[in-house]
């Protein structure tokens, strides 16, 4: 390699949006949807396989990690929802979301994801969480479920009433209540954007540094890949914690006890 040609080639492959692969019955299938299906099937298989090794006397082998992480999420829910039985009622949704996001984030760091494997000139695989459509869908579903659970727990009139706190004669109450209701839409956007941008910017960082390193790419990209391992876990934790706290705020008022942090 000529030293004067260092980092002088075309730039790295940077794609913010997922790319079109093929269509099934008029529905366009992009590379992120394809990888999302693959990782969902792998995750299902993994959990069906691990199901046998989790016993009441404690779990064995790899299942211990999954057991500890599930227990961590349930403990988190118990501390913010108030009681363990309430946490166990909502646990399946949040634990599944946590593992799905972590698994997708980490699957995106495997070699072969990105421009390495191509189909008709476009990269075949792209991490599912590096697609704004996917994270928007996840955030939308989570907020809808949180609203539904809150309405089921306290009734629709009481649920709408909890946005309007204060004296009903004061016009400021209506203005603040309207802003609070609008805030639900902001929550969807912020949940989706946070997860998407963290993952896609991590991908861009890794591709930029492996391009700058040219022949020493494995060395220069390694620290950023390790950082992405941590960020993938952290972002899944934050997504779940924020959803839990939205649920806790939406369902706490009918018990009339102080919300403890």
């Amino acid at each position: 390699m000529n030293i004067f040609r260092f980092a002088a080639e075309d730039g790295p492959h940077i794609a913010i949006a997922p790319e079109y692969l093929f269509s099934i019955g008029g529905v366009d299938i992009t590379n992120s949807i394809l990888y999302g299906w693959i990782s969902a099937v792998l995750l299902l298989g993994l959990f069906f396989y691990l199901r046998k090794s989790i016993t009441i006397q404690g779990s064995k082998g790899v299942a211990r990690v999954f057991d500890a992480l599930s227990e961590f999420i349930i403990g988190l829910m118990a501390s913010s929802l108030g009681s363990r039985e309430k946490a166990l009622r909502y646990a399946p949704l949040f634990v599944t979301t946590f593992f799905f996001i972590v698994f997708n984030n980490w699957m995106g760091l495997l070699p072969g994801v990105g421009p390495a494997l191509e189909y008709n000139g476009t990269p075949l695989l792209r991490p599912y969480t590096a697609d704004l459509n996917a994270t928007l869908a996840m955030a939308f579903v989570m907020i809808i479920i949180v609203q539904t659970l809150a309405i089921r727990e306290s009734g629709i009139a009481k649920h709408i009433g909890h946005y309007f706190q204060g004296s009903m004669k004061n016009p400021m109450t209506y203005a603040i209540g309207g802003l609070e209701m609008f805030g639900e839409l902001t929550r969807i956007a912020s949940l989706a954007l946070r997860l998407f941008l963290n993952i896609v910017i991590g991908k861009i960082l890794i591709s930029i540094f492996s391009y700058l390193g040219s022949s020493a790419a494995p060395l220069t990209a390694l620290p950023f890949t390790l950082m992405e391992l941590f960020i993938g876990l952290l972002q899944a934790y934050i997504f779940v914690v924020l959803c839990i706290s939205y649920l806790a705020v939406a369902t706490s008022h009918n018990h009339n006890h102080e919300e403890h942090a």
């Binding site: 940077i14 988190l76 941008l197 934050i238």
Partner: protein
Amino acid sequence: MELFAEATNLVPLAKGIALGFGVMGPAIAIGMIGTAFMNGVSRNPESSKFLGQILVFVSLAELFGLIAFASIFIIK
């Protein structure tokens, strides 16, 4: 004329300014969150168990820096 257009191309400058000022705020915010956390821990060592909540606040501040980073791909 093409040379003139190339010489007065302000797009890279705009991207640099947008990214630089955009990440400045979150950087200050994360520094302040860290300062507050370390102050709290040094006054009361038991409060180090709130590290998980600190990370949530860090991510709330970080979002705006990430939006600034994403917006440089929109500037044409």
